[in-house]
């Protein structure tokens, strides 16, 4: 009887202590405890839902790697909020992430969404990282708003010498009527003459426009050497297709927004030239190779720029939080920013990522061309 009592106590005591034993063991081997929350403010429904899935794939792989490597003492978990790429929904989602989920770090995308959530994150001192929108007005929104994507003006400038080499000097621009389009228009107006080119036509299209036959006819009248497309979202494929359908046979050029499946697999996009961040998936550093290998194994497809960006955004959180854990400091917005400004340079996919004092990352750019549905580096 006594033996049974002792045994029962031992069992009860063991059961009571089991969670703590598990935790103690886990401290040494794998992350445990309350997870670090990485919030995402992506469009998961609506016309821009394709982007939400693309962005999430990159972020999810980084979370998997951080947890598998026991990079941090606590696991990392993604908490998604659907914004439909609309500012009002984004503010509701951001307020929930900050106040209910207590997110440590938030990923955002799309210019209007980023601008809308910046004041909320600024008040809460929660770091927000954009890896998808490239409007130059996203720089310096808040000390806690960072960009892990080169903003559009940098990409356009990087493309111009290559265009001159290929003798694509007379350029027609189709641009979406928003800050992104305005910024690219401004750069082409000023920078093209400086490198020996000229802007022979500029055609503004509303963001919701889906019919581009009249634009194509006007482009043909300008007889350009190349057509620069400054648009994003579901509109991009339509512009490319309708330009080709309406007899615009000149080379099409653009920026990294074209690096999505719906464009890559479009027959009419064959020969499209655009800038992306430089990433050598096969011969690059270990971080880059691991990302590329695991991404392909998981999705049976090559990764794109956006997946790289959001992988880098989450990896950056892992690196910053790791530094803070080493110095036993709390992982919060203020400390994350302090470490970012102290270190400035990080090993990310594609090589070193360098941040300026506004939290904007600069990275090497490359020029790619779509050939047979695949991206080929051409410059």
């Amino acid at each position: 009887m006594n033996g049974f009592k002792a045994g029962r106590r031992a069992v009860l005591g063991g059961l009571a202590a089991a969670p703590y034993i598990g935790q103690a063991r886990a401290q040494g081997t794998s992350p445990s405890g309350d997870p670090y929350i990485v919030g995402t403010l992506f469009p998961m429904s609506g016309p821009n839902a394709e982007y939400g899935s693309v962005f999430t794939a990159g972020a999810a792989l980084a979370v998997q790697h951080i947890n598998a490597d026991s990079m941090l003492r606590r696991p990392v978990r993604i908490q998604a909020e659907d914004t439909q790429a609309l500012p009002q929904q984004a503010v509701v989602g951001m307020t929930k992430l900050v106040n209910v989920d207590r997110a440590h770090y938030v990923l955002s995308a799309f210019t209007a969404v980023s601008k809308a959530v910046a004041p909320v994150g600024d008040r809460a001192k929660t770091v927000m990282v954009n890896g998808g929108a490239v409007g130059p007005d996203l720089s310096g929104l808040s000390p806690y708003f960072w960009n892990v994507i080169p903003l559009a003006h940098l990409e356009t400038q990087a493309l111009l010498p290559f265009m001159m080499q290929r003798n694509l000097k007379r350029v027609a621009l189709v641009y979406v009527d928003d800050p992104l389009g305005d910024a690219i228009l401004g750069i082409l107006r000023t920078a093209l003459p400086q490198v020996g080119g000229s802007l022979v036509g500029q055609f503004s299209v509303p963001r919701t426009a889906q019919q581009f036959a009249p634009v194509a006819a006007r482009i043909r009248q300008t007889r350009p050497d190349a057509v620069y497309i400054a648009s994003f979202g579901a509109q991009q494929s339509q512009i490319i297709k309708q330009l080709r359908d309406n007899g615009v046979s000149q080379p099409l050029v653009s920026y990294s927004a074209m690096n999505i499946d719906s464009v890559r697999t479009l027959t009419e996009a064959e020969g499209l030239i655009f800038t992306t961040q430089s990433t050598d998936f096969e011969g690059g550093d270990a971080v880059t190779r691991r990302f590329a290998t695991d991404f392909k194994a998981r999705h049976n497809a090559d990764p794109g720029t956006y997946q790289v960006n959001y992988y880098n955004a989450v990896r950056l959180f892992g690196l910053l939080a790791q530094s803070l854990e080493r110095e036993n400091a709390e992982v919060n917005g203020e400390n994350l920013r302090r470490v970012l400004l102290a270190q400035r340079e990080f090993d990310l996919v594609g090589g070193k990522g360098r941040f300026d004092e506004l939290g904007n990352m600069s990275a090497a750019l490359q020029i790619t061309e779509i050939r047979g549905g695949r991206l080929v580096k051409v410059g």
């Binding site: 998961m44 429904s45 503010v91 929930k96 509303p206």
Partner: protein
């Protein structure tokens, strides 16, 4: 958690103002406008510019927004005087589309697609205040004004116009003046909501004032019940709280909330129109087919 619910409640109060004011036009006067977001936008831009350039006072911003939206509502009232029914819906649709283009292009006033950023939080007499009490007070005043107006001769005139415009005119009612006043009241209220929205969000751009927003406000009124004081409020609360509520359902993956929400919206609207065509708070005998 409190901050989250305060934010939701603030947006809820703002959309209750929008639904309640649209109800004056749709529910009481029978003017089916799908351009309410235009006046919401006008109020938002007016309120934002007052806060940015003059003084971040919520009362001043709301008054200016109401005046701007109310005065420009003549753009809607003028076609309203000439056409009715589905013809007016088409006219208001045209106004909505034109306004979105103007909002996008008038960059010095609206910031274009990029919008206006850095709008100060609401202040009253120099003291920063939460949006919620200001929005609730504005909503209470608008509801009180609506109730008083609709109980009086003006309200009876509007309802007579709604039920039979020619008959009301034959009885000597000034249909043109009554319609213009109803539209001005509804649009001024939308302007107040816009000013509150701008100060609450601290950012406005044209994406908040497009046709989708107008349709959403209309859906709030119809689901709650047109021509009732409380119906539009019920509709606004339901349509705003649905996505927030779904986000807390543990069995729905957070990445699928948007898709589930769209399905539920569609299903709920269909079922509602079949079983309660007059809306949740509306008269059960209205709207059903008796064939």
């Amino acid at each position: 958690m409190i901050a989250y619910f305060t934010n939701l409640a603030s947006l809820g109060a703002i959309f209750c103002i929008l639904a309640a004011t649209l109800n004056v036009a749709v529910g009481y006067a029978g003017i089916f406008s799908v351009a309410h977001a235009v006046f919401f936008g006008l109020g938002a831009y007016a309120g934002a510019q007052v806060s940015l350039l003059l003084i971040p006072d919520a009362l001043v911003a709301m008054v200016v927004a109401a005046l701007v939206a109310g005065a420009l509502s003549l753009c809607l009232a003028l076609p309203a005087l000439r056409v009715r029914g589905e013809y007016f819906v088409a006219a208001s649709l045209g106004l909505q589309m034109m306004a979105v283009t103007l909002f996008s292009e008038a960059k010095t006033l609206t910031g274009g697609i990029g919008g206006l950023t850095g709008i100060p939080r609401p202040h009253i007499l120099g003291v920063e205040v939460s949006t919620l009490p200001v929005a609730l007070a504005a909503l209470a005043l608008i509801l009180l004004a609506t109730a008083l107006l609709m109980r009086g001769s003006f309200g009876r005139t509007l309802q007579a116009i709604r039920d039979g415009e020619s008959a009301a005119e034959a009885l000597g009612k000034n249909v043109a003046a009554a319609k213009a006043l109803a539209v001005a009241f509804a649009c001024a209220g939308a302007g107040v909501a816009g000013a509150l929205f701008a100060m609450h969000m601290q950012f406005v751009n044209v994406e908040s004032f497009n046709l989708d927003q107008s349709v959403l406000i209309m859906a709030m009124v119809i689901i709650g019940g047109t021509g009732t004081l409380w119906g539009p409020l019920v509709g606004a609360v339901i349509l705003l709280s649905l996505p927030a509520g779904l986000a807390f359902m543990p069995f729905i993956p957070s990445t699928e909330v948007g898709a589930v929400q769209q399905i539920i919206y569609g299903l709920a609207m269909t079922l509602l129109m079949v079983f309660r065509p007059a809306g949740l708070v509306g008269d059960l005998s209205r709207g059903k087919s008796h064939a």
